[in-house]
Protein backbone atom coordinates (compact mmCIF):
# COMPACT_ATOMS: atom_id res chain seq x y z
CA UNK A 1 0.00 0.00 0.00
CA UNK A 2 1.39 3.38 -1.02
CA UNK A 3 0.27 6.65 0.52
CA UNK A 4 0.87 10.28 -0.19
CA UNK A 5 2.36 11.55 3.04
CA UNK A 6 1.92 14.97 4.55
CA UNK A 7 4.45 15.41 7.37
CA UNK A 8 3.62 18.97 8.49
CA UNK A 9 5.88 21.62 9.96
CA UNK A 10 6.87 20.23 13.31
CA UNK A 11 7.66 16.73 12.21
CA UNK A 12 9.84 18.16 9.50
CA UNK A 13 11.92 20.34 11.80
CA UNK A 14 11.86 20.12 15.57
CA UNK A 15 10.70 16.54 15.56
CA UNK A 16 12.56 15.08 12.58
CA UNK A 17 13.27 11.90 14.46
CA UNK A 18 9.61 11.16 14.92
CA UNK A 19 9.04 11.51 11.21
CA UNK A 20 11.93 9.19 10.37
CA UNK A 21 10.88 6.61 12.90
CA UNK A 22 7.30 6.61 11.68
CA UNK A 23 8.42 6.04 8.11
CA UNK A 24 10.71 3.18 9.00
CA UNK A 25 8.05 1.57 11.15
CA UNK A 26 5.55 1.86 8.29
CA UNK A 27 8.08 0.30 5.97
CA UNK A 28 8.52 -2.57 8.35
CA UNK A 29 4.79 -3.09 8.18
CA UNK A 30 4.71 -3.01 4.39
CA UNK A 31 3.44 0.54 3.98
CA UNK A 32 5.13 3.06 1.73
CA UNK A 33 4.85 6.73 2.61
CA UNK A 34 5.66 9.00 -0.32
CA UNK A 35 6.12 12.53 0.91
CA UNK A 36 4.28 15.07 -1.22
CA UNK A 37 6.96 16.93 -3.20
CA UNK A 38 5.74 20.45 -2.53
CA UNK A 39 3.55 20.53 0.52
CA UNK A 40 2.89 23.74 2.37
CA UNK A 41 2.11 24.23 6.03
CA UNK A 42 -1.57 23.68 6.79
CA UNK A 43 -1.53 26.50 9.33
CA UNK A 44 -2.01 24.25 12.30
CA UNK A 45 -5.53 25.56 12.88
CA UNK A 46 -8.63 24.84 10.87
CA UNK A 47 -9.99 28.20 9.72
CA UNK A 48 -13.60 27.96 10.88
CA UNK A 49 -14.82 31.15 9.22
CA UNK A 50 -16.99 30.30 6.23
CA UNK A 51 -15.48 33.27 4.41
CA UNK A 52 -11.90 32.15 5.09
CA UNK A 53 -10.73 30.86 1.73
CA UNK A 54 -7.05 31.78 1.40
CA UNK A 55 -6.19 30.08 4.70
CA UNK A 56 -7.67 26.85 3.42
CA UNK A 57 -5.76 26.78 0.15
CA UNK A 58 -2.54 25.19 1.38
CA UNK A 59 -4.60 22.22 2.53
CA UNK A 60 -6.46 22.10 -0.75
CA UNK A 61 -3.13 22.01 -2.61
CA UNK A 62 -2.02 18.98 -0.63
CA UNK A 63 -5.36 17.28 -1.19
CA UNK A 64 -5.25 17.96 -4.92
CA UNK A 65 -1.70 16.67 -5.15
CA UNK A 66 -2.78 13.40 -3.55
CA UNK A 67 -5.77 13.19 -5.84
CA UNK A 68 -3.52 13.58 -8.85
CA UNK A 69 -1.40 10.71 -7.62
CA UNK A 70 -4.59 8.73 -7.00
CA UNK A 71 -3.43 8.07 -3.45
CA UNK A 72 -4.92 8.51 -0.02
CA UNK A 73 -3.31 11.26 2.00
CA UNK A 74 -1.61 10.00 5.15
CA UNK A 75 -0.95 12.29 8.11
CA UNK A 76 1.02 11.72 11.25
CA UNK A 77 0.25 14.89 13.18
CA UNK A 78 -3.23 15.31 14.68
CA UNK A 79 -3.39 19.00 13.86
CA UNK A 80 -2.54 18.48 10.20
CA UNK A 81 -4.98 15.63 10.11
CA UNK A 82 -7.71 17.78 11.59
CA UNK A 83 -7.13 20.70 9.25
CA UNK A 84 -6.81 18.62 6.09
CA UNK A 85 -9.82 16.50 6.87
CA UNK A 86 -12.06 19.44 7.67
CA UNK A 87 -10.96 21.44 4.64
CA UNK A 88 -11.57 18.33 2.58
CA UNK A 89 -15.04 18.10 4.04
CA UNK A 90 -15.68 21.74 3.15
CA UNK A 91 -14.58 21.06 -0.41
CA UNK A 92 -16.97 18.12 -0.59
CA UNK A 93 -20.00 19.68 1.06
CA UNK A 94 -19.78 23.47 1.04
CA UNK A 95 -20.55 24.71 -2.43
CA UNK A 96 -19.50 28.27 -1.74
CA UNK A 97 -16.09 27.35 -0.36
CA UNK A 98 -15.58 24.81 -3.12
CA UNK A 99 -16.39 27.27 -5.88
CA UNK A 100 -14.22 30.00 -4.47
CA UNK A 101 -11.25 27.75 -3.76
CA UNK A 102 -11.47 26.18 -7.19
CA UNK A 103 -11.77 29.56 -8.84
CA UNK A 104 -8.66 30.67 -7.02
CA UNK A 105 -6.64 27.58 -7.78
CA UNK A 106 -7.57 27.57 -11.49
CA UNK A 107 -7.31 23.80 -11.65
CA UNK A 108 -7.96 21.94 -14.84
CA UNK A 109 -10.33 19.67 -13.05
CA UNK A 110 -12.11 21.23 -10.08
CA UNK A 111 -11.49 19.58 -6.72
CA UNK A 112 -14.51 18.43 -4.75
CA UNK A 113 -13.12 16.51 -1.81
CA UNK A 114 -12.25 13.29 -3.64
CA UNK A 115 -9.10 12.53 -1.64
CA UNK A 116 -9.37 10.37 1.46
CA UNK A 117 -7.44 11.71 4.43
CA UNK A 118 -6.20 9.03 6.79
CA UNK A 119 -4.24 9.26 10.00
CA UNK A 120 -1.29 6.98 10.72
CA UNK A 121 -3.28 5.43 13.57
CA UNK A 122 -6.21 4.73 11.28
CA UNK A 123 -3.78 3.19 8.85
CA UNK A 124 -2.51 0.89 11.61
CA UNK A 125 -6.06 -0.02 12.60
CA UNK A 126 -7.80 -0.33 9.24
CA UNK A 127 -5.06 -1.20 6.78
CA UNK A 128 -2.37 -3.05 8.71
CA UNK A 129 -4.74 -4.25 11.42
CA UNK A 130 -3.84 -4.30 15.09
CA UNK A 131 -3.75 -8.09 15.12
CA UNK A 132 -1.18 -8.07 12.29
CA UNK A 133 0.76 -5.38 14.11
CA UNK A 134 0.80 -7.56 17.17
CA UNK A 135 2.32 -10.35 15.12
CA UNK A 136 4.98 -8.00 13.77
CA UNK A 137 6.05 -6.87 17.22
CA UNK A 138 9.44 -8.33 18.10
CA UNK A 139 9.99 -6.46 21.31
CA UNK A 140 6.66 -6.36 23.15
CA UNK A 141 6.47 -3.67 25.81
CA UNK A 142 5.14 -6.15 28.29
CA UNK A 143 4.26 -4.80 31.69
CA UNK A 144 4.38 -1.15 30.68
CA UNK A 145 1.33 0.79 31.80
CA UNK A 146 0.62 3.46 29.25
CA UNK A 147 -2.01 6.17 29.15
CA UNK A 148 -3.34 7.23 25.77
CA UNK A 149 -3.77 10.93 25.32
CA UNK A 150 -6.12 11.74 22.45
CA UNK A 151 -6.63 15.45 22.85
CA UNK A 152 -9.17 17.28 20.77
CA UNK A 153 -8.15 17.40 17.18
CA UNK A 154 -8.28 13.73 16.32
CA UNK A 155 -11.77 13.25 17.65
CA UNK A 156 -13.82 16.39 17.33
CA UNK A 157 -16.10 17.34 15.69
CA UNK A 158 -16.87 13.67 15.21
CA UNK A 159 -19.37 14.30 12.42
CA UNK A 160 -16.50 15.41 10.19
CA UNK A 161 -13.53 13.58 11.67
CA UNK A 162 -15.25 10.18 11.97
CA UNK A 163 -12.21 8.87 13.73
CA UNK A 164 -13.50 7.06 16.78
CA UNK A 165 -16.15 7.46 19.45
CA UNK A 166 -15.44 11.08 20.45
CA UNK A 167 -16.25 10.57 24.12
CA UNK A 168 -14.95 7.07 24.66
CA UNK A 169 -12.30 6.37 22.05
CA UNK A 170 -10.40 3.09 21.94
CA UNK A 171 -8.01 3.25 19.00
CA UNK A 172 -4.88 4.23 20.95
CA UNK A 173 -5.69 1.73 23.72
CA UNK A 174 -5.98 -0.95 21.06
CA UNK A 175 -2.65 0.23 19.69
CA UNK A 176 -1.09 0.00 23.14
CA UNK A 177 -2.36 -3.55 23.48
CA UNK A 178 -1.00 -4.41 20.07
CA UNK A 179 2.52 -3.38 21.06
CA UNK A 180 2.26 -5.57 24.13
CA UNK A 181 1.73 -2.94 26.80
CA UNK A 182 -1.20 -2.37 29.11
CA UNK A 183 -3.44 0.64 28.43
CA UNK A 184 -4.55 2.85 31.30
CA UNK A 185 -8.00 4.21 30.60
CA UNK A 186 -8.58 7.53 32.33
CA UNK A 187 -11.35 10.05 32.03
CA UNK A 188 -9.44 13.08 30.78
CA UNK A 189 -7.81 11.44 27.81
CA UNK A 190 -9.99 13.40 25.41
CA UNK A 191 -9.97 16.68 27.34
CA UNK A 192 -8.11 19.63 25.89
CA UNK A 193 -4.53 20.17 27.15
CA UNK A 194 -4.61 23.83 26.12
CA UNK A 195 -1.97 23.39 23.44
CA UNK A 196 -3.12 26.34 21.40
CA UNK A 197 -2.56 28.78 24.26
CA UNK A 198 0.73 27.36 25.36
CA UNK A 199 2.52 30.33 23.84
CA UNK A 200 0.45 33.03 25.41
CA UNK A 201 -1.40 31.77 28.39
CA UNK A 202 0.86 29.37 30.20
CA UNK A 203 -1.28 29.40 33.33
CA UNK A 204 -4.31 28.10 31.52
CA UNK A 205 -2.23 25.52 29.70
CA UNK A 206 -0.64 24.37 32.94
CA UNK A 207 -3.94 23.94 34.72
CA UNK A 208 -5.32 21.88 31.86
CA UNK A 209 -2.20 19.72 31.75
CA UNK A 210 -2.33 19.21 35.48
CA UNK A 211 -5.86 17.79 35.24
CA UNK A 212 -4.86 15.32 32.59
CA UNK A 213 -1.62 14.22 34.17
CA UNK A 214 -3.25 13.78 37.56
CA UNK A 215 -6.05 11.72 36.11
CA UNK A 216 -3.63 9.51 34.17
CA UNK A 217 -1.32 8.97 37.11
CA UNK A 218 -4.22 8.07 39.31
CA UNK A 219 -5.06 5.31 36.86
CA UNK A 220 -1.49 4.07 37.21
CA UNK A 221 -0.01 5.32 33.96
CA UNK A 222 3.78 5.31 33.77
CA UNK A 223 3.86 7.42 30.67
CA UNK A 224 1.57 9.03 28.15
CA UNK A 225 1.53 8.69 24.42
CA UNK A 226 0.02 11.15 22.02
CA UNK A 227 -0.35 11.70 18.31
CA UNK A 228 0.10 15.46 18.30
CA UNK A 229 3.49 17.20 18.60
CA UNK A 230 1.88 20.26 20.15
CA UNK A 231 0.14 18.20 22.83
CA UNK A 232 3.38 16.36 23.39
CA UNK A 233 5.27 19.59 23.96
CA UNK A 234 2.55 21.02 26.14
CA UNK A 235 2.12 17.92 28.26
CA UNK A 236 5.82 17.60 28.94
CA UNK A 237 6.84 21.25 29.23
CA UNK A 238 3.84 22.56 31.11
CA UNK A 239 3.56 19.73 33.55
CA UNK A 240 4.48 21.42 36.79
CA UNK A 241 5.30 18.12 38.43
CA UNK A 242 7.35 17.07 35.45
CA UNK A 243 7.11 13.45 36.42
CA UNK A 244 5.22 11.81 33.61
CA UNK A 245 7.13 11.15 30.42
CA UNK A 246 5.25 11.79 27.20
CA UNK A 247 6.07 9.95 23.99
CA UNK A 248 4.92 10.18 20.46
CA UNK A 249 3.06 6.98 19.72
CA UNK A 250 5.46 6.13 16.93
CA UNK A 251 8.40 6.14 19.32
CA UNK A 252 6.91 3.20 21.16
CA UNK A 253 5.91 1.62 17.88
CA UNK A 254 9.56 1.69 16.79
CA UNK A 255 10.63 0.25 20.08
CA UNK A 256 8.12 -2.58 19.83
CA UNK A 257 9.21 -3.31 16.27
CA UNK A 258 12.79 -3.48 17.44
CA UNK A 259 13.89 -0.27 15.79
CA UNK A 260 15.73 2.57 17.50
CA UNK A 261 14.20 6.00 17.87
CA UNK A 262 15.14 7.03 14.40
CA UNK A 263 13.83 3.78 13.11
CA UNK A 264 17.15 2.04 12.41
Amino acid sequence: MVYSYYPGCTLKTKAKDLDKGARRAAEALGIVMEELPEWQCCGGVYPMGKDEIATKLSSVRALVAAKEKKQDLLTLCSACHHVLKRVNNDMATNEDIRNKANAYMELEEPYAGETRVIHYLEMLRDVVGFDKLKEAVTNPLTGRKIGAYYGCLLLRPSKTLQFDNPENPTIIEDFIRAIGAEPVVYAYRNECCGGYVTLENKDLARSKVANIVESAKEGGAECLITACPLCMYNLSNNNAAGDLPVYYFTELLCEALGLDKEGN
Partner: protein, 128 residues
Protein backbone atom coordinates in the same frame (compact mmCIF):
# COMPACT_ATOMS: atom_id res chain seq x y z
CA UNK B 1 -25.73 48.63 22.52
CA UNK B 2 -27.32 46.27 20.12
CA UNK B 3 -25.97 45.86 16.69
CA UNK B 4 -28.04 43.39 14.77
CA UNK B 5 -26.33 44.09 11.50
CA UNK B 6 -22.99 42.97 12.88
CA UNK B 7 -24.72 40.05 14.50
CA UNK B 8 -26.06 38.84 11.18
CA UNK B 9 -22.62 39.31 9.65
CA UNK B 10 -21.22 37.09 12.39
CA UNK B 11 -23.82 34.47 11.60
CA UNK B 12 -22.71 34.58 8.01
CA UNK B 13 -19.02 34.22 8.85
CA UNK B 14 -19.60 31.46 11.38
CA UNK B 15 -22.32 29.63 9.49
CA UNK B 16 -24.13 29.33 12.81
CA UNK B 17 -27.73 30.19 13.51
CA UNK B 18 -27.74 31.22 17.19
CA UNK B 19 -31.55 31.04 17.30
CA UNK B 20 -31.19 27.26 17.24
CA UNK B 21 -29.81 27.51 20.79
CA UNK B 22 -32.23 26.30 23.50
CA UNK B 23 -30.18 27.80 26.35
CA UNK B 24 -29.31 24.51 27.97
CA UNK B 25 -25.78 25.57 28.86
CA UNK B 26 -24.16 22.31 27.91
CA UNK B 27 -21.43 24.21 26.04
CA UNK B 28 -20.53 26.08 29.18
CA UNK B 29 -20.79 22.92 31.22
CA UNK B 30 -18.31 21.40 28.84
CA UNK B 31 -15.85 24.26 28.34
CA UNK B 32 -12.35 23.54 29.71
CA UNK B 33 -11.42 27.24 29.68
CA UNK B 34 -14.59 28.35 31.43
CA UNK B 35 -13.00 29.74 34.57
CA UNK B 36 -10.63 31.94 32.60
CA UNK B 37 -13.37 33.44 30.49
CA UNK B 38 -15.28 36.60 31.14
CA UNK B 39 -17.98 35.59 28.68
CA UNK B 40 -18.73 31.93 28.39
CA UNK B 41 -19.67 29.93 25.33
CA UNK B 42 -23.43 30.15 25.89
CA UNK B 43 -23.11 33.88 26.38
CA UNK B 44 -21.30 34.25 23.09
CA UNK B 45 -24.21 32.52 21.37
CA UNK B 46 -26.84 34.51 23.16
CA UNK B 47 -25.04 37.85 22.81
CA UNK B 48 -24.56 37.35 19.10
CA UNK B 49 -28.21 36.40 18.83
CA UNK B 50 -29.28 39.63 20.48
CA UNK B 51 -26.62 41.79 18.87
CA UNK B 52 -24.61 42.67 21.98
CA UNK B 53 -21.35 42.43 20.11
CA UNK B 54 -19.26 45.28 21.39
CA UNK B 55 -18.60 43.79 24.79
CA UNK B 56 -17.55 40.58 23.17
CA UNK B 57 -15.17 42.34 20.84
CA UNK B 58 -13.43 43.93 23.80
CA UNK B 59 -13.25 40.79 25.86
CA UNK B 60 -10.11 38.74 26.46
CA UNK B 61 -12.37 35.69 26.34
CA UNK B 62 -11.91 35.73 22.60
CA UNK B 63 -8.37 34.53 23.05
CA UNK B 64 -9.05 32.19 25.92
CA UNK B 65 -11.11 29.74 23.87
CA UNK B 66 -8.93 26.67 23.36
CA UNK B 67 -10.63 25.63 20.10
CA UNK B 68 -11.06 22.16 21.50
CA UNK B 69 -14.50 21.77 19.87
CA UNK B 70 -15.96 20.03 22.90
CA UNK B 71 -18.87 22.50 22.84
CA UNK B 72 -19.45 21.77 19.16
CA UNK B 73 -19.33 18.06 19.80
CA UNK B 74 -21.77 18.06 22.70
CA UNK B 75 -24.29 20.72 21.71
CA UNK B 76 -27.67 19.00 21.42
CA UNK B 77 -28.94 21.57 18.94
CA UNK B 78 -26.01 21.60 16.52
CA UNK B 79 -25.25 25.25 17.29
CA UNK B 80 -21.40 25.16 17.16
CA UNK B 81 -20.47 27.82 19.76
CA UNK B 82 -16.76 27.54 18.85
CA UNK B 83 -17.55 28.77 15.35
CA UNK B 84 -19.30 31.81 16.80
CA UNK B 85 -16.34 32.60 19.03
CA UNK B 86 -13.99 32.23 16.09
CA UNK B 87 -16.17 34.55 14.00
CA UNK B 88 -16.07 37.23 16.70
CA UNK B 89 -12.31 36.74 16.96
CA UNK B 90 -11.96 37.18 13.22
CA UNK B 91 -14.06 40.30 13.37
CA UNK B 92 -11.80 41.61 16.09
CA UNK B 93 -8.47 40.99 14.39
CA UNK B 94 -9.36 41.65 10.78
CA UNK B 95 -9.20 45.45 10.93
CA UNK B 96 -5.73 46.96 10.61
CA UNK B 97 -3.56 47.15 13.69
CA UNK B 98 -5.88 44.96 15.71
CA UNK B 99 -3.66 41.89 15.74
CA UNK B 100 -3.59 40.19 19.06
CA UNK B 101 -0.16 38.72 18.53
CA UNK B 102 2.78 40.49 16.95
CA UNK B 103 5.87 39.02 15.41
CA UNK B 104 8.03 41.10 17.76
CA UNK B 105 6.60 39.25 20.72
CA UNK B 106 7.72 35.89 19.48
CA UNK B 107 11.41 35.78 20.51
CA UNK B 108 10.64 36.24 24.16
CA UNK B 109 7.96 33.55 24.04
CA UNK B 110 10.22 30.96 22.47
CA UNK B 111 11.80 28.11 24.30
CA UNK B 112 14.02 25.49 22.81
CA UNK B 113 11.44 22.71 22.63
CA UNK B 114 8.59 24.83 21.36
CA UNK B 115 7.29 23.24 18.18
CA UNK B 116 6.71 25.37 15.06
CA UNK B 117 3.15 24.38 15.24
CA UNK B 118 2.63 26.47 18.36
CA UNK B 119 3.79 29.62 16.63
CA UNK B 120 2.09 28.94 13.31
CA UNK B 121 -1.22 28.23 14.93
CA UNK B 122 -1.01 31.20 17.25
CA UNK B 123 -0.44 33.43 14.26
CA UNK B 124 -3.35 31.86 12.45
CA UNK B 125 -5.63 32.45 15.36
CA UNK B 126 -4.54 35.80 16.64
CA UNK B 127 -3.18 37.71 13.68
CA UNK B 128 -4.35 38.70 10.23
Amino acid sequence: MENLEIARELERISGVNPRKCMKCGKCSGTCPAYDKMEYHPHQFVSMVETGRIEKLLESESLFTCLSCFACVERCPRGVEPANIIEAVRLMKIRPQNENHLHAEQIPELLDENLPQQAIVSAFRKYKK
